[in-house]
Amino acid sequence: MFDLSSDEKIVLKVHRHKLVLVFKSFFLILFVLLPPVLFWFGGQAGVIKGNQPALFLSVYSAVLLIGWMIFFIIWTDYYLDVLIVTDKRIIDIEQRGFFKREVSTVRLESIEDITINVSGVVATFLDYGTLKLQTAAENREFIIYDVPHPNQIKSTIYELQNKQIQAPKSVKLAP
C-alpha cells in the first residue's frame, strides 16, 4: 500500500466522518421498504399465485442480499479513504471504486498553511469539515474532505511540524 521508513511512526489515522457513509448508503432504505409495498399491491391485485409468503421471502431476501452487497461496496470505499499523519509526512489515500486508488504525500516541512472549512448546520454540530494544506510543493494545495474534528488534526499537524523543525538534524562528518 505504502511504505513507512524505519524511523517513521504513525501518529494519526483519520477516516471520513461516519455521516458520509450514512448519506452515501441512505438510498439502500429503498431495498428494505420497496419489496413489502410492492408485494402488498401485488396481493391486492391478485397477480401472485401459489404460496405468497414463500415467494415474498425469496424475493425479499434476494433484494436484501443485493442491498447488503452494495452497502459493503460503499463501506469499503469509505473505509479505504484514509488520512495518515506520521511524524514525518501526511499521506492521503483516496479509493475511487475498486480499481482506482490515489495516494498523495506531503512532507511536514513543506506545509506552509492549514485552512479549515466547516460549513453547514450539520457539519457545525457534528464537527467535521474540509482540511486544506497549502504546500510549497509543485502540487500546492492538498485537500481532504469531511474530516472529523479538523481543529484537532490541524493542531496535531502543527505540533509535529514544530517538533520536526526544533529537532537537531544529524550531520554526517566526512572521514
Partner: protein, 140 residues
C-alpha cells in the same frame, strides 16, 4: 244510438283515472290501459329508483406484474437461473472485497469483523432465498 253513446261514455269514463279510486281495468280495455300506464309507471319508477352502485374499475395497479402474461413467462428454470446469477455475483464480489480488505485494510481486527459479518449475513440471505424459492415452486 243513445244507448251506444251512453255505453261509450261509460267506457271512456272508466278509462280516465279517478282521484282516490284504485281500479283494475276490465278485459276489453286491458290492452290500451296497460300499454300506456306501463310506460308511465316505468318512467316514474326509474325516476324514483336509487342508482345501483357498480364498481366500474378493475383494481390492478401493477398490470405489468402479471407473470403469466405474454411479456414474461415465469418458469422454474428462469427463477433458478436468477438465483444462480445472484450467487455468482455474490461470490465474485466477495472475492474482490476480501482482496481489498486484505491488501489495503489497516486494522486487522476491523477487517476480520467486517469479513465475518459480510459472509455470515450474505450466506444466510442466499440460503433463505433458495429455500423459500423451493417452497414456492412446490406450491405451484
Amino acid at each position: 244510438m243513445l244507448g251506444r253513446e251512453r255505453r261509450s261514455d261509460v267506457a271512456m269514463r272508466r278509462l280516465q283515472p279517478r282521484a282516490g279510486v284504485a281500479k283494475m281495468p276490465s278485459d276489453g280495455e286491458a290492452l290500451f290501459v296497460t300499454e300506456s300506464r306501463r310506460s308511465r309507471l316505468v318512467g316514474k319508477l326509474s325516476m324514483l329508483q336509487l342508482p345501483i352502485y357498480q364498481l366500474q374499475t378493475n383494481f390492478n395497479p401493477l398490470p405489468g406484474l402479471n407473470w403469466g402474461s405474454q411479456f414474461f413467462n415465469f418458469s422454474q428454470e428462469l427463477a433458478w437461473l436468477a438465483v444462480g446469477l445472484l450467487a455468482i455475483v455474490f461470490v465474485f464480489l466477495s472475492f474482490i472485497l476480501f482482496y481489498h480488505w486484505k491488501k489495503f485494510g489497516f486494522e486487522k481486527m476491523v477487517m476480520a469483523k467486517a469479513a465475518l459479518l459480510y459472509s455470515s449475513v450474505s450466506a444466510a440471505l442466499l440460503l433463505i432465498t433458495m429455500i423459500s424459492l423451493l417452497i414456492y415452486l412446490y406450491s405451484l
